[in-house]
């Protein structure tokens, strides 16, 4: 595999496009069990990411990840801003100086990201947050063999499974049992995150 600066930029563009398209949907999900801004937050942040990284020539993925993290941190706000910001800052640290990533590099990077997210947000598996997508997906990524279609369906299934969970962290936790029956917005945006990543990886692997 050859996942470098160009691929990261492509990933960010595709992810941003999807988030812009799904802005209203994510916001509706957040209206049901939160405060209705998740779509706005994500769309605002990744729009800015795409703009910022498009005007800079990056030598390595690490510095690109770092910029993405900083943009998210300073543009998203809410709970998702520090969490997605942490994702990229921790990943950047892990792949510092690398011009191209292998699957195992991605695994190491996102393992660090997940740790960071859990440390900040103190959420565990089953708390109905983005962690419910992240944990199984990162575990699969750490395995020997990664099939990107399987990766996508794994993310999707776990995203869908958040519907039946009771929220224990984040704004939805205030709802208690009444949060059951709704998808977690951050799990859905995390699904987009991984699905768009996988599409780029699949292309690269096939090339």
């Amino acid at each position: 595999m050859n996942f470098g600066v160009e691929q990261t930029k492509k990933w960010m563009q595709e992810l941003n496009q999807r988030l812009q398209l799904q802005k209203a949907y994510l916001t509706e999900l957040d209206q049901a069990i939160g405060d209705g801004d998740h779509g706005l937050n994500m769309a605002r942040g990744f729009q800015e990411v795409v703009y910022k990284i498009s005007i800079i020539d990056y030598k390595d993925v690490g510095s690109l990840f770092k910029d993405i993290g900083m943009v998210l941190l300073s543009k998203v706000g809410g709970a998702s801003g520090p969490l997605y910001g942490t994702v990229f800052l921790k990943a950047a640290n892990e792949v510092k100086g690398k011009e191209s990533l292998e699957t195992k590099d991605l695994a190491a990077a996102f393992t660090a990201s997940l740790e960071g997210v859990k440390m900040r947000g103190k959420a565990n598996l089953g708390d109905k947050t983005m962690v419910d997508v992240w944990e199984p997906v990162v575990a699969y990524l750490q395995g020997d063999q990664v099939d990107w279609d399987t990766f996508i369906s794994l993310a999707k299934t776990n995203m869908e499974n958040t519907e039946q969970l009771e929220a224990k962290k984040g704004r939805a936790a205030y709802l208690g049992k009444r949060s059951i029956g709704h998808l977690d917005p951050g799990a859905v945006s995390s699904f987009y995150f991984f699905a768009e990543l996988a599409k780029v990886c699949k292309e690269v692997s096939q090339a």
Binding site: T27, Q31, I33, G34, D35, G36, D37, L40, N41, R44, L73, S74, K75, V76, G77, G78, A79, S80, G81, P82, L83, R120, G121, A167, K168, K169, G170, R171, A173, Y174, L175, G176, R178
Partner: protein, 331 residues
């Protein structure tokens, strides 16, 4: 969406500009940020107080920046916690060498963003302390979850911690009194109508023509009971009972009361609520030291209210009484 705005994406920056243009003697904007600080910030030898959160709760928090209350207020996008870099700018702008207290409403986003900002500031050598306000008894407290939300009671934290900071007290002392307020303040709210985040363009939820929602959060987070609209007296009884059950003031204790409007509720209605609050407290022999009626912590143009009680001892009373001169709170 019926709003007097220009561009939904620019409401926060235009509001902040309009705010400092209106009150240049009292406040200024830290350039290129969404941070409001006192016109004379930083004040040397005084603990700095910073609060903030999503916008849409005006006059919170910019309206409480000034003598005897906050030094700085950070405004996020509407209903979205401000980012760490902005909070960090606020901390730097108000630090007068004695450290800075962050007053955070208990929402994951606010807590995370303020925490990260605190880490940045501490790395610069600024002493930072944090308190988290969780006065909303609508949502059960549980150690397994996020805990209770922070709502209008936050204004009492600003007032009392701000008054102590003004005396030259240390960061630890100011933090301690802020925590004392937090331990003694409880609130609960309800809504009659929804509100619309400008960038979303339509209401975040809907409430039937004959319905109201008890326990609604100030960002439109669902409450605990959706039901037919009740009379002012019935609503007051429900809200006050939950507050009293949790706060458990004794007969000889005195309290401060805040009847807070969420945005579209006329003062007339808030005073009608206060009549009942006053009657109910009298029945229980609870002594009302002072009553605040008005808009302190709003939710855009939501119709509804919250009721807050703060238990007062002599020290808190003295600090509540102390001079304050901010745009939205003067005495």
């Amino acid at each position: 969406m019926k709003k007097l705005i220009n561009n939904p994406e620019e409401v926060v920056s235009e509001m902040l500009e309009g705010f400092v243009l209106a009150h240049p003697k009292q406040v200024k904007l830290v350039p290129n940020t969404s941070v409001i600080v006192r016109a004379d910030s930083p004040i040397q030898g005084k603990v700095g107080l910073v609060s903030g959160g999503g916008s849409g709760h005006e006059p919170s928090h910019g309206g409480f920046v000034g003598t005897g209350m906050l030094d700085g207020a950070v405004a996020g996008e509407v209903f979205t916690s401000p980012t760490p870099d902005q909070v960090y700018e606020a901390i730097k702008a108000v630090d007068g060498g004695k450290g800075v207290l962050l007053i955070i409403k208990n929402y994951t986003g606010d807590v995370l963003n303020f925490e990260m900002a605190a880490e940045l500031a501490e790395a610069d050598g600024i002493k930072v302390a944090k308190v988290v306000v969780n006065d909303d008894v609508a949502v059960e407290n549980s150690t397994y979850t996020t805990g209770r939300r922070g709502i209008a009671g936050t204004v009492f934290v600003h007032k009392i911690a701000g008054a102590l900071a003004e005396t030259g007290a240390s960061l630890e002392e100011v933090e301690a009194v802020a925590n004392k307020v937090i331990q003694n303040v409880r609130s609960m709210g309800m809504a009659l109508t929804p509100c619309t985040i400008p960038a979303a363009g339509k209401p975040g939820f809907s409430i039937g023509d004959n319905e109201m929602e008890i326990g609604m959060g100030i960002h439109g987070e669902p409450g605990i009971e959706r039901g037919e609209i009740k009379t002012a007296d019935e609503v007051t009884s429900v809200l006050l009972k939950k507050v009293l059950d949790d706060l458990q003031p004794t007969q000889d204790e005195k309290v401060a009361v805040m009847i807070n409007g969420l945005g579209a509720t006329p003062l007339m209605e808030l005073y009608i609520l206060n009549k009942k609050v006053s009657d109910l407290l009298k029945e229980r022999n609870i002594d009302v030291y002072e009553t605040f009626v008005g808009e302190y912590m709003t939710s855009l143009e939501m119709a509804g209210c919250s009721i807050t009680l703060l238990k007062l001892d002599n020290h808190l009373t003295e600090l509540l009484d102390a001079k304050a001169n901010t745009v939205a709170f003067k005495r």
